[in-house]
């Protein structure tokens, strides 16, 4: 039993953090969000590929590093911490389910795959190896060369072609712009049945890992600001109103992180009730991210209400996270069903 990172895992974390600091800093993400598309993601993606980030959990024979879901968790912690844009989750998942040249392309960073889950308003009609689709909320559409689509039963891969029409939308979260996308493209099933369900759990827990990074960052931001911002002749972090709110934020972060680590290992090891632990993690991460996101704004006072301060970005990301793979209510209902069984 060990829920702490090993030194090797610390080193992975350090590598990812340093890469993101250079390649995908939040300042750079903000420039993109403001529509400065001069710097594309292609270079970033290829460097991430060369560092093995899309293949941490693949066997070395499959071009991977022979690590596992726990190391991917660390990758996503860091992505969440810096609100890194890009189709990370779709690419990491695609590398698991694709084979041969396609997998190699995902792994080396030349085939970024955006993850899409089908929503009520969407159309996704598969017939004879082709799909006619009308999708309303696709993140990272612009930089994607393929879509990895989950329709709550199976997973599909849709390669980009000339039929794609992408229109970006006014989105709540400026660091994760959602587009509408229509296409009439080739489409292949890449996971069904048990392996499809397992992939969905992997997607969910890696989202949690990303959330945990953001949640912990909200605590750090509030603490940093609490130390330097002075009012009434003292740092605001010395006032219990701020100090105790920071303490509660830290508790939530520890709850979210512990639940996520536990569920990640359970899923990695194929523990029987892993799905249950994932639901627990998803629920508690959503609680923590939404509340910490809001508290972090409040701790920053007037600054926290500005666009310039990063606080709102985490709060907005928290909403996106809540709706990924089932909001709080859905997770709670799953747990309720277990209690009643």
């Amino acid at each position: 039993m060990d829920l702490m990172q090993s030194q090797e895992q610390d080193a992975i974390q350090e590598t990812v953090r340093s890469f993101l600091g250079k390649q995908l800093s939040l300042e750079k993400t903000r420039r993109w969000a403001e529509g400065d598309a001069a710097e594309g993601l292609d270079d970033v993606w290829r460097e991430a590929g060369s560092l093995g980030f899309f293949a941490l959990a693949l066997e070395e024979t499959a071009g991977g590093s022979g690590f596992s879901l726990t190391e991917e968790m660390i990758l996503f912690n860091e992505l969440g911490r810096s609100l890194a844009p890009g189709p990370w989750l779709g690419s990491v998942l695609a590398a698991r389910v694709l084979g041969g040249a396609e997998r190699a392309a995902v792994v080396d960073g030349s085939l970024p795959c955006a993850l899409v889950t089908i929503r009520d308003a969407d159309r996704f009609e598969v017939e004879g190896g082709r799909v006619r689709a009308q999708l309303s909320q696709v993140a990272d559409a612009a930089s994607a060369r393929a879509l990895l689509v989950y329709d709550a039963a199976d997973w599909y891969l849709v390669r980009r072609d000339a039929s794609w029409e992408i229109a970006s939308q006014r989105s709540l979260d400026p660091t994760r712009v959602l587009s509408s996308l229509t296409c009439d493209s080739e489409c292949a099933v890449v996971a069904r049945g048990e392996s499809a369900r397992s992939l969905a759990l992997t997607a969910t827990i890696l989202s949690c890992a990303e959330a945990v990074g953001g949640i912990e960052r909200t605590v750090e931001m509030s603490v940093e600001y609490g130390k330097v911002r002075e009012q009434f002749g003292q740092p605001i972090g010395s006032f219990q109103a701020v100090k105790h709110r920071c303490a509660d934020m830290a508790v939530r972060a520890e709850v979210a992180r512990s639940a996520t680590i536990y569920a990640t290992i359970a899923l990695r090891d194929g523990v029987a009730n892993a799905a249950h632990h994932v639901a627990v993690a998803k629920l508690l991460c959503a609680d923590a991210y939404l509340q910490n996101g809001a508290d972090n704004i409040q701790n920053h006072g007037g600054m926290g209400f500005t666009w310039e301060c990063d606080a709102h970005l985490y709060m907005k990301r928290a909403h996106g996270f809540d709706h990924a793979f089932g909001p709080r209510a859905t997770q709670l209902e799953a747990l309720v069903a277990e209690l009643r069984a």
Partner: protein, 393 residues
């Protein structure tokens, strides 16, 4: 104890309702751009002024109606009921600056400014907060040196709503840097076209630009523009803030009931994503109870408002209990908007929500400021603890 309105009040209500129904402009004529909004607000305020509906409880000598605070509340209720557009760009003049001048201004100041404020001729803005003086207002550093008949102001203000379109600013400056913090401050009327001012808009997390930073580089303001005595501005500012905490948000309180009504309608129409059968949100047990709780609380808010007005009617002063209401109101407003997000589900991510009277996502983002601006919720709790309950500092 009585819930009924007097025959005069009822008549006033009927008259107000009829006039508003006949004369209110459509809110969608208003536009988004601040100058356009201000123009709209001024025209609308002028129309109310001309018809005798501006400043219901302002004295008649300044163009007000000279009616009671209760009639003012009735006006706000009818205003909300008619869905008449709030002249928000005129907020500072009507709710802060005007009342402060009435309480502390000279006769010249009152007779010059109050009619202009009330008739919508001028937009006022606030210059209280500074980058280093937010909750700790008395820590303000913007200096004013007395030079003959002028104050010469240098420094910086922040969170100045509509600073870019205002004609006047209620400005707090430090006129005696040697005095204790609260003793060397003056309250000045600053003309926004004075030389040496630079105004930079601040973008909010809701994506709009309503606030400004204002920079002062040796700005000369006539000494006659000081309200109250030089170095006595803290007392004047406290008067301003007592309106802010007492009656300035009355109309917002009244309007919150409308927001809750709209939320019930939204819940009636919106299929809930987390419901397997996509039943409408109002049929969901959890959403429904949260809605019911909000309706109960907004009714309590109305009762609290009436009680506060009753108290003010007895004492003639804004009651200290205003901070209780303000705190409850601001947190309730946030709960209401948060509930809207849960009803709308993932639609909010693409800001892809039905636009009616409210843009729910924008409003949700906006009300994050409700526990920050005009005194953070922490400051409100300090005030309640210290000034109402008498707990030690």
């Amino acid at each position: 104890m009585d819930l009924t309105f007097s025959p005069e009040e009822e008549a006033f209500r009927r008259e107000a309702r009829a006039w508003l129904e006949a004369n209110k402009p459509a809110a969608d004529e208003r536009g988004e751009e601040p100058r356009q909004r201000a123009e709209f607000d001024r025209r609308w305020q002028r129309a109310m002024f001309d018809a005798g509906w501006a400043g219901i409880n302002w004295p008649t000598e300044y163009g007000g109606r000279g009616a009671s605070l209760m009639e003012q509340v009735i006006w706000y209720e009818e205003f909300a009921r008619a869905k008449a557009p709030e002249p928000t760009t005129l907020f500072v003049g009507l709710k802060h600056g005007g009342p402060t001048l009435m309480a502390c201004g000279s006769d010249e100041q009152k007779s010059f400014h109050l009619p202009k404020i009330l008739s919508g001729e001028v937009v006022w803005c606030q210059g209280f907060s500074e980058p280093g003086a937010g909750s700790d207002l008395a820590g303000l550093q913007t200096r004013a040196v007395i030079d003959g008949d002028d104050l010469v102001v240098s420094g910086q203000k922040i969170w100045t709503s509509f600073g870019d379109i205002a004609q006047y600013q209620e400005l707090l400056v430090r006129t005696d840097p040697e005095a204790p913090r609260h003793k060397g401050i003056s309250w000045v009327i600053c003309p926004m076209d004075a030389k040496g001012m630079e105004i930079r808009p601040i973008r909010t997390m809701a994506g709009h630009e309503e606030f400004c930073e204002v920079f002062y580089d040796e700005v000369r303001i006539p000494r006659a523009n000081v309200v109250g005595a030089i170095n006595d501005g803290w007392k004047v500012a406290m008067s301003t803030l007592s309106f802010e905490r007492g009656t300035a948000f009355l109309s917002e309180q009244v309007r919150l009931a409308q927001l809750v009504d709209a939320l019930v309608e939204l819940a009636r129409e919106t299929p809930l994503e987390s419901s397997p059968q996509r039943q409408v949100a109002l049929e969901d047990e959890h959403i429904a109870r949260r809605l019911a709780q909000c309706t109960a609380e907004v009714e309590a808010l109305r009762a609290m408002t009436y009680r506060s007005v009753s108290r003010t009617a007895r004492t003639g002063m804004p009651s200290a209990e205003g901070s209780l209401i303000r705190l409850f109101f601001s947190e309730l407003q946030q709960r209401v908007c948060r509930l809207a997000m849960d009803i709308l589900g993932s639609r909010i991510l693409r800001w892809d929500v039905p636009r009616g009277e409210w843009d729910w996502v924008f409003h949700y983002l906006l009300v994050f400021s409700s526990t920050i601006a005009a005194g953070t919720k922490e400051i409100q709790r300090n005030i309640i603890g210290e000034r109402i309950l008498g707990l030690p500092r």
